[in-house]
Symmetry: C2
Subunit: 194 residues, 2 copies
DNA sequence: GTCTATAAAGTGATAGAC
DNA sequence: GTCTATCACTTTATAGAC
């Protein structure tokens, strides 16, 4: 309300945005409170005062926005997973990227990512047919992880194509993985145009 | 030859093994020269004397063993990629895992991994049919990356299955990706037994 | 309330004792 | 040749000046 708390809210938001970007670029250890403060046009003491510790600042900056619940037939599940992935490829999800980059050196970040992914995978696996539903759901997770990391973090060759093009290749894979694999092995069938 | 250089060689090997494991577990920054020395039953000064710097120690410990050249028809390429992936899932490639974990916070490690993967992807893409060969080859890379990371580094749910089981799910995907996607979209066809 | 100065701890690297 | 002691630096976190 008052200009005081308004100003503080804005500073906090600036700090969080700067933290998200720096954690996402350099990981946990190499992102210093000093650098965050400078990037946010503030100062280290203030960052500590607002967030208490580097760890708590990270937790707020890298909180993974949970995808909504995924329910329906295999085809519907495939569609929802495809849409979610498509968004993650198109729009550089800053908080998730910070968590993803940091997870390889900062165990707390790994827990955050793992619990988010495990939650979704279990949910999906429970609705998929086949004895290997858990495994297939794990492969969907791996594919998603690989595509997001490969595009935004590692910048793998070929993955810098327009999101629609990437999804045109990924969608049939996800679709196939939502069906019972214990009775198939032939690759996708020819279709029409590109 | 002499016991002197023999002993030294063995100590160097012990240090390298310890370094690989620790870099693979904790990443670059959180692996200290002191910890490596202790794990190798040696001492920090010696590690520095042998390897010159932490960066050079890492470079030797995390050098990615290049996969052999990949050539042939799409089906042959798929088979070779499948075999290579299968090995990476079965045997915990210590050096590669060190490079993979470190790459997210240590740019030098990222270069190492990226150049290894890009080299292989370009090679594969050049031999695949279709306008989107580069993209499909990138998706193969992302899938491979996701599976290796998901299994060994992140321990994603469902990916702790026996390597053969994981490959039974992954192989049709790789096979599909080696074929021209610009004319397909239907998922894999039903087959016979599990 | 905001920021400066500093404390406490841990790092890679080095010099020199054995 | 091997290892101990230490340097120079950087970090988070805190205490207190404005």
């Amino acid at each position: 309300m008052s200009t005081r708390v308004e100003q503080r809210r804005r500073t906090e938001a600036r700090i969080l945005t700067a933290a998200r970007q720096l954690f996402g670029e350099h990981g946990y250890d190499r992102t210093t409170i000093r650098a965050v403060a400078t990037a946010a046009g503030s100062d280290p003491g203030l960052v500590m005062r607002y967030f208490g510790s580097k760890e708590r600042l990270f937790a707020q900056a890298a909180a993974m926005p949970a995808d909504g619940p995924i329910v329906g037939s295999p085809a519907e599940i495939a569609a929802q997973l495809t849409t979610a992935l498509s968004e993650k490829l198109a729009e550089e999800p800053a908080a998730a990227l910070a968590a993803l980059r940091a997870m390889f050196s900062h165990p707390e970040a790994a827990d955050e990512v793992r619990s988010a992914m495990t939650g979704q995978q279990r949910q999906v696996a429970a609705q998929l047919p086949g004895e290997d539903a858990v495994l297939r759901s794990g492969v969907i997770g791996a594919l998603t992880l690989g595509l997001v990391i490969g595009r935004h973090l590692v910048r793998l060759d070929g993955l810098d194509a327009p999101p629609e093009d990437v999804m045109a290749v990924a969608e049939p894979l996800i679709s196939a993985l939502t069906k019972d694999t214990s009775r198939r092995d032939t690759p996708p069938e020819p279709r029409r145009p590109v």
